[in-house]
C-alpha cells in the first residue's frame, strides 16, 4: 500500500507540479494575469521532449528545445493576450489550450494523434538501477530544476521588477504614470512562466514515458490552479506547499478508496476532487496557506 516507492513517486510528481504552480504564481499571483491554458505549455514541453527523444535526439537537447519553443510560444501569445482585459484573457488562454488538444487528438500524423507518443526513453536506465534509486535520481533532478526556478523567481519578485508586477496586478495606469513599461514586464513574465512549465513537462515526459493529448485538458490546468491557490498564489514557497497538499489529498483519497474497495476510476476522482477543492478554497480561504510577503530587495 504505502511503500517507499509510492512516496517517492508522489514526491517526484509534487516537485514537477510545484514548478508549474510556481509559473502560475508568477503570472497570476504576482502579475494578475488569468492564465487558463497552463496545461498547454506543460504539455508542449512534454510533447517536444517526447518527439525529439523518440527520434534519437539526446534528452538534454529535447529539454532545451522545449524551453525555447515554449518561451517563444508564450511571447507570441502574450502579444494579443496582454492587451485584453482579464476575463477575455482567461477565455483566450482556455480556448487556446483546448484547440491544441483537439487538433492533436484528431491528427494522427502529428505526434501520434489520440494515442500520443509512447516509449519515451527515461533519463537513466531503469534496467540497470534498482527502482528506488531510479525514483530518487528523478526526484533529485526535479528538485534541482525546482531550486533553479525557485531562486530565479525569488530574485525576480524581490526586486524593483517584482514591484512592477505587483503594481500591474493592482493598478496598471498608476504603474504607467510612474514610467514603468507594463507591456514588456507582462511579456517577460508570460514567456518565462511558459518556459518554466515546459521544462517541468519535459521531465514529466521522461519520467512517465508517454504523452497524450489528454495532457492539454482543462482539468490539468485547474489542478495547477488549485495548487496555486491552496499554497498561496502570491508567494514563491506556496508553490511547493500547494502541490504537496493537493497531491497528498489526491493520493490519500485513492488509498482510502482502494482500502474501502470503491469502484471509482481514480482519474475521475482526482478531477472531481480538484473541482470541489477549488470551489471550497475560493469560498473560504482564497488567499491560501502562505500569505503574501513584503518585497525584500536588500
Amino acid at each position: 500500500m504505502i511503500s517507499i516507492e509510492f512516496i517517492l513517486d508522489t514526491l517526484v510528481l509534487t516537485v514537477l507540479f510545484a514548478i508549474v504552480t510556481l509559473s502560475l504564481n508568477l503570472k497570476y499571483g504576482y502579475t494578475g494575469l488569468l492564465d487558463f491554458g497552463k496545461a498547454a505549455f506543460f504539455a508542449t514541453g512534454a510533447y517536444v521532449s517526447g518527439l525529439m527523444t523518440t527520434n534519437s535526439y539526446p534528452p538534454i537537447l529535447g529539454i532545451l528545445t522545449a524551453i525555447v519553443i515554449a518561451a517563444l510560444m508564450g511571447l507570441l501569445i502574450s502579444i494579443p493576450a496582454i492587451r485584453v482585459r482579464s476575463d477575455y484573457l482567461a477565455i483566450i488562454t482556455l480556448v487556446f489550450s483546448e484547440t491544441i488538444r483537439i487538433i492533436l487528438k484528431n491528427e494522427s500524423w502529428i505526434a501520434g494523434g489520440v494515442l500520443g507518443i509512447r516509449g519515451i526513453p527515461p533519463l537513466i536506465d531503469p534496467r540497470t538501477t534498482p527502482y528506488q534509486m531510479y525514483l530518487l535520481t528523478h526526484l533529485l533532478i526535479a528538485l534541482m530544476l525546482y531550486m533553479v526556478f525557485f531562486t530565479v523567481s525569488w530574485l525576480l519578485t524581490n526586486s524593483p521588477f517584482g514591484r512592477i508586477l505587483k503594481a500591474i496586478r493592482e493598478d496598471e495606469i498608476a504603474s504607467a504614470m510612474y514610467g514603468k513599461n507594463n507591456t514588456l514586464a507582462k511579456a517577460f513574465v508570460f514567456s518565462f512562466s511558459c518556459a518554466m512549465a515546459a521544462s517541468a513537462g519535459s521531465l514529466y515526459a521522461h519520467y512517465v514515458g508517454f504523452v497524450s493529448p489528454d495532457l492539454f485538458v482543462l482539468a490539468i490546468t485547474l489542478q495547477v490552479w488549485i495548487m496555486s491557490i491552496i499554497g498561496g498564489p502570491s508567494t514563491i514557497s506556496g508553490s511547493f506547499i500547494g502541490a504537496l497538499t493537493v497531491l497528498t489529498i489526491a493520493r490519500g483519497t485513492r488509498i482510502i478508496k482502494d482500502y474501502l474497495n470503491l469502484p471509482i476510476d481514480p482519474n475521475n476522482t482526482m478531477f472531481i476532487l480538484t473541482g470541489i477543492l477549488l470551489i471550497i478554497t475560493i469560498m473560504f480561504r482564497p488567499t491560501g496557506l502562505v500569505k503574501e510577503g513584503k518585497i525584500k530587495v536588500v
Binding site: 505587483k166 498608476a174 504614470m177 510612474y178
Partner: protein
C-alpha cells in the same frame, strides 16, 4: 516650461477641453481653478497622456509631447498626482515611494537576477531617499505599514510623497488637499511650500479652496466649460468683477 496651444479634447461630441492655451514658467506655482465639470482634470489627463487630445499641441521644454503616452510623459519629467490617490495597497508605504523613483536598474528582469549587487546598492540609496521624503511629509512611522492603515489625508500626503520621489521637473497636483480636514490641509500646503522653496519646483495645481490658492500661488487660470476664461495673479482674479459669476456658473 510647459506650453499648450489650442488644446482640444472631446468625448463623443462633447468638448471637455475647448481650445485651451496657457503657459507655465519654471520655478513658479500655477493654479487651475473652476467649478465642477469645467474640464480641469480632463486638461490634466490630456497633458499627461491619459487621453490623447484631438487638437492643439503641448510643448514641454521645447519638445512636442502632445501624443506621448503616460510613461513617456513621466520620462520627460512631468509627474502628476490624482484626486483619488492611486496607491498600491498590497505594497508597504515605503515600497510605494521607492516604486515611483526613476531609472531603477532592477526594473529590468535580467538585471534583477544578474546584476544583484548594483540593484541592491541602488535600492539602499532609494530607501534612504524614501525615508527622507517620509520625514518631510511626516509619515516616518508608517514606513513598513500598508496604505490601508492611513487616513484619507495621509493617503494624499503619500501621493505627494511619491511625486517627490521622482525628482520632477514639473509637478502637477490634482486637488492635493481635497476631502481632508482643514487642519491637515493647511499642514499639507505648509509641507508643500517648504519643499517647493527648497527644491525650486515648478508646480501646476488644481484646487478648489480659493484662500489657499491666494497664499500659495503665483498665477491663476480660471476654467469654465472647457475654456480658460480668466487669468492673472491671485488677487487680480479673485477680485475681478466677473469672478463670482464665472465660479457660480451664472
Amino acid at each position: 516650461m510647459l506650453k499648450a496651444t489650442n488644446l482640444e479634447l472631446r468625448f463623443g461630441g462633447f468638448r471637455v477641453v475647448d481650445r485651451v492655451s496657457f503657459t507655465i514658467r519654471a520655478a513658479k506655482t500655477y493654479a487651475l481653478i473652476g467649478p465642477n465639470g469645467s474640464g480641469k482634470t480632463s486638461l490634466f489627463n490630456a497633458i499627461t497622456g491619459v487621453y490623447k487630445p484631438q487638437g492643439g499641441k503641448i510643448f514641454f521644454r521645447g519638445k512636442d509631447i502632445t501624443s506621448y503616452a503616460p510613461h513617456r510623459v513621466y520620462r520627460e519629467g512631468i509627474v502628476r498626482t490624482f484626486q483619488y490617490p492611486k496607491v498600491f495597497y498590497k505594497m508597504t508605504i515605503i515600497d510605494n515611494l521607492i516604486f515611483a523613483a526613476r531609472n531603477q536598474v532592477g526594473d529590468n528582469p535580467v538585471s534583477a537576477v544578474f546584476q544583484r549587487g548594483k540593484v541592491k546598492e541602488q535600492e539602499r540609496n532609494l530607501k534612504k531617499k524614501a525615508l527622507d521624503v517620509l520625514d518631510k511629509i511626516g509619515l516616518t512611522k508608517y514606513a513598513e505599514s500598508y496604505p490601508s492603515e492611513l487616513s484619507g489625508g495621509q493617503l494624499k500626503l503619500l501621493e505627494l510623497g511619491r511625486a517627490l520621489m521622482t525628482d520632477p521637473k514639473l509637478l502637477m497636483l490634482d486637488e492635493p488637499a481635497a476631502g481632508i480636514n482643514p487642519i491637515l490641509a493647511t499642514q499639507l500646503f505648509k509641507i508643500l511650500r517648504r519643499i517647493r522653496d527648497e527644491e525650486n519646483l515648478t508646480i501646476f495645481l488644481i484646487e478648489h479652496r480659493l484662500e489657499i490658492v491666494r497664499e500659495f500661488v503665483d498665477w491663476v487660470y480660471v476654467m469654465r466649460s472647457g475654456k480658460i476664461v480668466l487669468e492673472g495673479s491671485p488677487n487680480e482674479v479673485l477680485y475681478d468683477k466677473n469672478f463670482l459669476e464665472i465660479y457660480t456658473g451664472g
